[in-house]
């Protein structure tokens, strides 16, 4: 009773659409919703049976004598034995049904990734995601960070790797999670069914900033996806005014380029997120902040106050350098 009411109230008031296991916006996610419903029904029935039996057992003799009857405390009435048989049969049947349902759902999930049309490698780092689209033609590979674009209705194979510790790749709306384990390679299959914006998040504790290791997932129509992909293939926008130029100079010659790469410029660091199309993304620092001028200022000026312990040092930029850098970064659409 309390259980059901709580479910209702909380599900209705507390539902979000873009990071929700009951979203069911991908093939595996939808299978989850179905199987979860089956389990919920069976489990609720079982729970109600137990609760009713307990209440009835307590209520049955609540007013009878309070003195121990020495003669009867070993005897068992006739209904108990059949009840035990029925109960055992019920649990047994329930479990067999659930096991079979689970097994076939798992088989369906496994089969659905057999013919992927897009291959992506996602490499986890403390605490961001490196995303690389792999094509047979290597020159058309695209590298981005903390953001995945997917065309709707097309099966995708995601190869998962880790550069440091164990992480877990989880986009609840689309599919279940899969760990990224250093020294091992794991796979996830995604088949998005609905256009929309979803959010993924690291689900295995991976160190101090585990909480802020998110991933934006855009499921788009095929045309939108191809347009985005074409945009990503282009090198970075060249600086257009002197302020942007100053930012470009600072970026490519100073601390930034030691770690970051910007395609088409001398900045070629490989250990931090690729920033070639930085300004086109939805968020900064693996979902820590939404993409906005103020946030870019805050992040570049002092990343350690925004996401304490992350790997980007606070450089101590002068005001001029900061203005210039932000101006340049904002051009990287």
């Amino acid at each position: 009773m309390r259980r059901g009411a709580a479910w209702l109230v909380l599900l209705l008031t507390g539902c979000n659409s873009y990071q929700n296991a009951l979203g069911g916006d991908g093939a595996e996610g939808a299978n989850f919703v179905q199987l979860f419903t089956v389990f919920m029904v069976v489990c609720t029935v079982m729970y109600l049976i137990v609760a009713a039996a307990l209440v009835f057992a307590l209520w049955r003799r609540r007013r009878t004598a309070l003195v121990l009857d020495d003669r009867t405390h070993h005897q068992t009435s006739r209904v108990v034995r059949p009840a035990l048989a029925a109960w055992t049969a019920l649990i047994g049947t329930g479990l067999v049904v659930l096991t079979i349902a689970s097994f076939f759902t798992d088989r369906t999930n496994a089969a659905q990734g057999s013919k992927p049309q897009i291959k992506i490698t996602v490499t986890a780092n403390q605490w961001w995601w490196d995303v690389q689209y792999r094509l047979p033609d290597v020159s058309r590979n695209v590298r981005t960070a903390n953001e995945i674009h997917l065309p709707v209705g097309i099966p995708v194979k995601v190869t998962l790797k880790s550069n440091d510790v164990i992480h877990s790749f989880w986009i609840p709306n689309l599919a279940g999670k899969q760990d990224l384990i250093p020294g091992r390679q794991t796979d996830a299959q995604l088949l998005p069914r609905k256009v929309g914006l979803y959010r993924g998040q690291c689900a295995e504790f991976c160190g101090v900033q585990h909480a802020q290791m998110a991933l934006d997932v855009m499921v788009e129509s095929k045309e939108d996806f191809l347009r985005w992909y074409a945009g990503q293939l282009k090198p970075a926008t060249a600086p257009a005014n002197s302020l942007q130029l100053a930012g470009y100079r600072y970026f490519t010659t100073r601390e930034c380029s030691t770690c970051h790469n910007i395609g088409g410029t001398p900045a070629s660091g490989q250990v931090a997120p690729d920033l070639t199309h930085f300004a086109s993304r939805r968020s900064i620092a693996a979902g820590t902040l939404p993409m906005a001028r103020g946030n870019v200022y805050g992040w570049v000026a002092d990343p350690q106050s925004q996401k304490p312990g992350n790997r980007m040092p606070t450089v101590g930029l002068s005001a001029n350098d900061l203005h210039a850098l932000v101006a340049y970064l904002e051009t990287l659409k």
């Binding site: 309390r2 259980r3 008031t13 507390g14 539902c15 979000n16 929700n20 296991a21 595996e28 489990c43 079982m46 729970y47 137990v50 609760a51 307990l54 009835f56 307590l58 003799r61 609540r62 121990l68 020495d70 070993h74 005897q75 068992t76 009435s77 108990v80 009840a83 035990l84 055992t88 047994g92 479990l95 659930l98 096991t99 349902a101 689970s102 097994f103 759902t105 496994a110 403390q126 510790v165 164990i166 609840p172 599919a175 279940g176 999670k177 899969q178 384990i181 250093p182 020294g183 091992r184 794991t186 796979d187 689900a203 295995e204 504790f205 101090v208 585990h210 909480a211 304490p308 312990g309």
Partner: protein
């Protein structure tokens, strides 16, 4: 006369010319024989299972309070999105401390403490087997707990989560000595648990009252036997795993280094091979409490005793075949998962049968709704939810979504608090008069029961929803607008209610211990042997060892209690019986109080703490440990006294 000649004599001819004692005179002599040495040294030397058990329970409750306080801090941090009450690093330390303390320093030890206290009383014996080992078990546990909490105070607490997955806990990413402190704490507590389990197993197999065949043992004792065997089989696994982690961190071995063909998953296999049984090591004693309480408060024997016992044994065995269900997301071969899904679901059969037997017992009996039974009812209502969510996450497709989210956090709190802490609180209320001679206040007991029961639902039910709404576990903050605000706020409010209820329970404990109603020796009219002893029990437990001929000796005893006579009174002599049928077999002296177990623990502590810093500490540190152990085992001086006997 040398040993060979003496042994060839028929035993009955051994000279006995002591006085035959009975009544008050006997009790006086026994009290002298079984008392501790005076003063603080005597306190440290105690090997009395009741002292050890009580210390275990009180220490574990203190750790519960500490870890509970950390839980409140975490709930405050999570009560609203983007909160900055405590920072990320501190939060990670706190959840690690909370989980580690609850699992290793509260749940397992508190159950073992209850078992150590109750088992010899339930079996009708005067002490447990290997009492010094038992004392050593407690000191080692205390040392492990202090190590962890002193580290926390000194700001070098572990921050790697309670299951410490490498590489995060390995040499490169587990910076400093934090992970080493965690791993050494595990070593301490696991030595303590193993020592306690060995003692309990031998006690149960060899020291039962005459006539208490295996089929007549109280169900709690069965649960204790199964649990102790599970400890014996599972703990070596985590000992090995944490030993390998320490050596990776200290001397650069490569067990968990993939670059040198080690494997991070090796840890997960070894850890969960221990970690899953550990859950049942916590849960099975709780089902033992439930069976005892249900029988007493329904005033009838448990319905289908053999089924309940078989269920305990089956759960104990199945528990070793489930560990992979903690690793469904690691990408192991999919086909193997089906086996673990089936095995995990199969565990619900013995548990379901136990629940049936309890409800059937209530149905057959005449339930008295006193506080211990209220906790049992709360347990069934709560635990079954946890059990059913457990069935859900046994299914691979469901687990891949729900694993490592707040759904799991909700699940294991339903199982561990609903399934183990509720029965524990009931059991404490139930056996409190046995330990103190006074009854706990029924009124305060009822208030705290309702607060904890309702507060618990408020705190943990919304976590299911938070998990489904995409909240991973172990996050120190979450963004607004994801549907997480309300569930988290409710959880935080609920956690404060639970904390208040636990506080009220402790107040009740303290007030009742001082000024509660004085208890008769069998206040609940219970059937098992511990209630044949006085409240609180004398140091020697029973003036005469009882003879048993049913599962409910006190209900069936009639006017007189059948007992044996002929045990020594000037020596701590125990009656050993045969393993299956419990026929009297031998008399053996039990160990005297000794300071050496305590000194042994001190030596061990020095060795373990120093071995965090240098491998040579193992080599040099073992010497004082060995000296302490040999002094501990050295027999007391030969006793030329004649043999006075009881009765």
């Amino acid at each position: 006369m040398n040993a060979a000649e003496r042994a060839k004599l028929p035993p009955a001819k051994v000279a006995r010319d002591g006085p035959r004692l009975t009544g008050a005179k006997l009790e006086e002599r026994l009290a002298v024989t079984w008392s501790n040495p005076p003063g603080f040294i005597g306190w440290l030397s105690s090997v009395d299972h009741k002292d050890i058990g009580r210390r275990y329970v009180i220490t574990a409750l203190a750790f519960l309070a500490l870890a509970g306080a950390l839980a409140i801090v975490m709930r405050l941090q999570l009560s609203k999105p983007d909160n900055d009450l405590i920072g990320a690093a501190r939060y990670n330390e706190i959840f690690t401390m909370h989980g580690t303390t609850m699992m290793f320093l509260f749940a397992v030890p508190v159950m073992q403490g209850m078992q150590i206290y109750l088992t010899p009383l339930m079996l009708g014996t005067r002490a447990n087997a290997f009492p010094r080992l038992n004392a050593f078990s407690y000191w080692t546990y205390l040392a492990g707990g202090l190590l962890l909490w002193i580290a926390f105070v000194l700001n070098i607490a572990p921050d790697i989560g309670w299951f410490a997955y490498p590489p995060l806990s390995g040499p490169q990413y587990g910076v400093g000595k934090r992970a080493d402190i965690w791993a050494q704490m595990v070593t301490f507590t696991e030595i303590a648990a193993l020592a306690g389990a060995v003692s309990l197993t031998a006690t149960i197999l060899k020291q039962r009252a005459p006539g208490m065949s295996l089929g007549r043992m109280p169900i709690f004792v069965w649960a204790t036997l199964v649990t102790s065997l599970m400890v014996i089989f599972s703990m070596p696994s985590v000992a090995l795993a944490s030993g390998m982690l320490l050596s990776d961190r200290l001397v650069g071995t490569h067990f968990y280094n993939p670059a040198e063909q080690g494997d991070a998953l090796l840890w997960q296999h070894l850890f969960w091979f221990f970690g899953h049984p550990e859950v049942y090591i916590i849960f099975l004693p709780a089902t033992g409490f439930v069976s005892e309480i249900v029988a007493t408060f329904s005033r009838r024997t448990i319905v289908f005793y053999p089924i309940v016992v078989m269920a305990l044994v089956a759960t104990g065995i199945l528990a070793f075949g489930l560990w992979v269900h903690h690793m469904f997301a690691t990408g192991l071969p999919r086909i193997g998962y089906s086996f673990y899904t089936a095995a995990s679901m199969a565990v619900s059969i013995p548990t379901g049968l136990q629940i049936f037997c309890w409800i059937a017992t209530l149905w057959e009996g005449r339930p008295r709704l006193q506080v211990p039974l209220l906790y049992v009812i709360g347990f069934i209502f709560t635990f079954v939810i946890g059990g059913l969510t457990g069935v859900m996450i046994a299914a691979v497709p469901l687990d891949l979504q729900l694993h490592d989210t707040y759904f799991i956090v909700a699940h294991f709190h339903y199982v561990l608090i609903g399934g183990a802490v509720f029965p524990l609180l009931g059991a404490i209320t139930y056996w409190f008069p046995k330990a103190t001679g006074r009854l706990m206040s029924e009124r305060l007991g009822k208030i705290s029961f309702w607060m904890i029961f309702l507060g618990f639902q408020l705190a943990f039910f919304p976590m299911h929803i938070a998990g489904i709404n995409g909240m991973p576990r172990r996050v120190y903050t979450y963004p607004a607008g994801m549907g997480l605000e309300l569930p988290n706020l409710l959880s935080s409010i609920g956690s404060v209610v639970v904390a208040g209820a636990v506080l009220l329970f402790v107040v009740n404990l303290i007030m009742s211990a001082r000024a509660g109603r004085v208890s008769p020796s069998n206040p609940w009219d219970a059937p098992s042997l511990e209630w044949a002893a006085t409240c609180p029990p004398a140091k020697y437990n029973f003036p005469h060892i009882p003879i048993v001929d049913s599962r409910t000796p006190l209900w069936d005893a009639g006017e007189k209690m059948a007992v044996v006579h002929g045990l020594r009174v000037n020596d701590r002599e125990l009656l050993l019986t045969t393993v299956v049928s419990a026929t009297p077999d031998m008399r053996e002296p039990s160990a005297e109080p000794s300071l050496w177990p305590f000194i042994g623990t001190l030596a061990l502590t020095v060795m373990f703490v120093c071995s965090i810093f240098s491998p040579w500490a193992v080599v040099f540190g073992i010497v004082p440990v060995a000296v302490a152990l040999f002094a501990w085992f050295w027999p007391k001086s030969l006793n030329p006294e004649r043999e006075p006997v009881i009765s």
